[in-house]
Amino acid sequence: MEPRIPFLEVSDAIILSGAENLYWCMQCGLCTGTCPYRLVTGEASEEFNVRKVQRMGQLGLEGFESENCLFACTTCRACVDVCPRGVDIIGNIRGMRRMLAEVGSIPPSLKPIAGSLHAQGNPWSGPRDKRTEWIKDAPVPTFSADTEYFLFVCCTSCFDVRSQRIARSVAKALQAAGVSFGIIGNEESCCGEAIRKVGDEELFSKLAQSNIELFNGKGVKKIIVTSPHCLFTFKNEYPEFGGEYEVCHYTEILSQAVKDGKISFSGDAVGALAMHDPCYLGRHSGLYDPPRELMSALPGAEVKELSRNRNKSVCCQGGGGRVWMETRAGERFAELRINEALDAGAKTLVTACPYCITMLEDSCNVLGKGDQLAVKDLSEVVAEHL
């Protein structure tokens, strides 16, 4: 074997790109063992070894750049949670991706996404002026100086027809709970969470700055989000750009409303349902109880748990930009979750993230289990029982 020659200048550059903990790693391999790719088969499962990717980063070597290796990471945080050295592995992945992004070496499937974000402020190639189309049949208030909360709807739920149901359900539930909220409108841009994870730091800061300018201009203090990804970014990444807000996921607002008696549910029994904890709601934000409290408050709810739940939840594979990349059927994480839901005896698999909905529903259909299991956002189930 021809020896590889380490280039520590490259490692230094990776570190400067955000992989600040690159050398903290002692190469124990717990990350690789913990990674959900070990639960499936396929190319990415074979190629993507998060420990080894970081090893290559430490040595400044090439060879990890493919869609099925470095870009396989869904940033699900399962490895970070257990890492014995407390390494910000996602940060390391992000730093390495950024090195590539800066020279335009991101996977081809991500290029149109970046393009759309540049041009339209959303990753779904939706025209910016159609961002609020989802309110067409059910108007929601516009945020003004005396509105308490700004409701930020994830781009996915603004443009994806299926996902628009989530936006409408959240809005309906918030109205039922008497929450003072409003949207801003078409000037809103994507929160930028995913594109930052993909490595396009420049684009992310552009999106963030534009949003912060907009939000601050409107006097936003408190934000309700429909997606845990937006939650994460607003909460953890916007402050460094000057955006300081009190940010809540809608499940937090609604579960509090239930406790306060401001909202009540009626209608048919919901039956057996189980929660798929989204990575960004759970591991990234520590919110495990609000959705469960909300579920338990629904009429006739029979709450089940998936075998891997809460902080042991398995990713839907939609994070880290993977929602825009193709994973072959039979190799998808979401398939595991559908089967777990069926094993748990659930009739409805609920979650609280637009990416999760996309990934889970797709797998449910591919597996042909659509007749046995419904995949719904928790907001939808709530809205059905108002």
Partner: protein, 416 residues
């Protein structure tokens, strides 16, 4: 300076015992207080020591004989320090003695146990297996005296035990007592506890009965243990012929114990020999980050590694689960061989780390601690920490440290 030529040793494990006998044989008067009903501490629960694979009872026997022969040493079991006042050369220590419900008349004949039918989880075996509520803590226990578990005091059974004793040794009316000692120096040797590895939840302890800790495994291999020394799976009693040892089960981990517990690599190598010696057709797998066999212990590592049925794999095990075919499945990355670990075994042993006795309970002493609870400074010349309260140590290092502690205590207590 008053009546202070005495040394109080807190903790009757290997460090405390050593400090006591070494100081006494150099001329000091020593009192040992021990929380458990017997002296010897954790090593009395071990089957063998590394690297000689010799039984701890052998060295303990010698030390007990040194105590028996030396009128300068006294000891109290079931004793905990309640309060300490004074300063170097002149400490006053209050010690609470919990009732044993058996007095010095006990001959160790065992008639009380014969009439006792209540059983309690055997503390000596970490609750694997039961023992009568009137029991000898273990066969080599020193002092060689029975204990009546408080649960049968005040019951008919307790009374039956008392009636069965021909020597008036069972005293169910025994109350906690307080003793006060005036001493010149205090050796603090309260030892260590195994880390609660249920917190390393992906390793399955507490979820699967066939995942045990390294300290439990010592009992499974010990002739006086719950299985009579046969290495059997707790779930079904099947012979455990394939055993996985998972290193750093909590140690070297910022989520658990950030430090290295120092002894676990050697302990697992040793335990692999238990398996190999017992079943010729057995296999042992040791999953490690780094093999830490310091100094001449390297020889022991080399020796065990030469057994082709002992495999060492550089891997931090990420998951232990029930294998569909029975047994337990271990998964992780096999780093050096560039592959995956997917190993099904009969029994999983977690090499749990050492938590200092001073992590949970901090005495009223001016000692200073690091973030992990280890004593880093005694704060006063009359206070001498010894053994695993200072750092994780193997037995030889503990004894070395305790011998040094004996001199430090002696300097203060003897006013030299």
């Amino acid at each position: 300076m008053g009546d202070n030529r005495k040394i109080l040793v807190v903790g009757g494990g290997i460090s405390g015992l050593t400090a006591a006998v070494e100081a006494a044989e150099a001329g000091a008067e020593v009192v040992v207080v021990e929380r458990k009903p017997y002296l010897g501490g954790r090593v009395s629960q071990f089957n063998h020591y590394f690297p000689k694979l010799c039984p701890p009872a052998c060295g303990l026997e010698i030390n007990f004989r040194r105590i028996k022969n030396n009128p300068a040493i006294s000891y109290h079991t079931l004793a905990t320090v309640e309060s300490i006042s004074g300063g170097p050369g002149n400490y006053e220590v209050n010690v609470t003695i919990q009732p044993r419900f058996v007095n010095d008349n006990c001959t160790g004949c065992g008639e009380c146990a014969k009439v006792c039918s209540t059983e309690i989880p055997n503390p000596h075996d970490y609750g694997m297996g039961n023992v009568k509520a009137a029991y000898l803590p273990h066969p080599m226990a020193f002092p060689f005296k029975y204990v009546i578990d408080p649960s049968i005091v005040g019951t008919d059974e307790g009374k039956a035990c008392a009636d069965a004793c021909a020597y008036g040794a069972v005293d169910l009316a025994m109350q906690p007592a307080t003793l006060t000692f005036s001493v010149g120096a205090i050796v603090w040797a309260t030892g260590w506890a195994p880390y609660d590895a249920t917190k390393v939840d992906y390793l399955g302890l507490g979820k699967y009965p066939d995942v045990v800790t390294s300290v439990m495994f010592e009992r499974l291999a010990a002739a006086d243990g719950p299985t009579g020394g046969k290495i059997l799976r707790p779930s079904d009693g099947k012979e455990a012929k394939s055993v996985a040892f998972v290193q750093c089960a909590g140690s070297r981990d910022e989520n658990h114990l950030p430090y290295c517990s120092g002894v676990c690599c050697l302990a697992s190598l040793k335990q692999a020999t238990y398996v190999r010696e017992q079943y010729p057709d057995s296999k042992a797998y040791i999953y490690y980050i780094d093999v830490r066999a310091m100094g001449k212990y390297e020889d022991f590592y080399t020796k065990v590694d030469q057994d082709e049925n002992v495999t060492l794999i550089k891997s931090k095990i990420a998951r232990v689960s029930q294998a569909p075919s029975g047994g337990l499945l271990l998964e992780g990355e096999d780093i050096v061989n560039g592959g995956k670990v997917k190993q099904v075994v009969d029994l999983v042993v977690l090499a749990v780390g050492m938590v200092p006795g001073t992590a949970a309970v901090k005495p009223e002493l001016p000692m200073e601690y690091d973030d992990f609870g280890f004593v880093v400074s005694s704060g006063a010349s009359g206070i001498v920490p010894a053994g695993c309260v200072k750092a994780p140590m193997e037995v030889a290092a503990s004894v070395q440290d305790a011998t040094a502690a004996a001199l430090k205590a002696l300097q203060c207590a003897m006013g030299r």
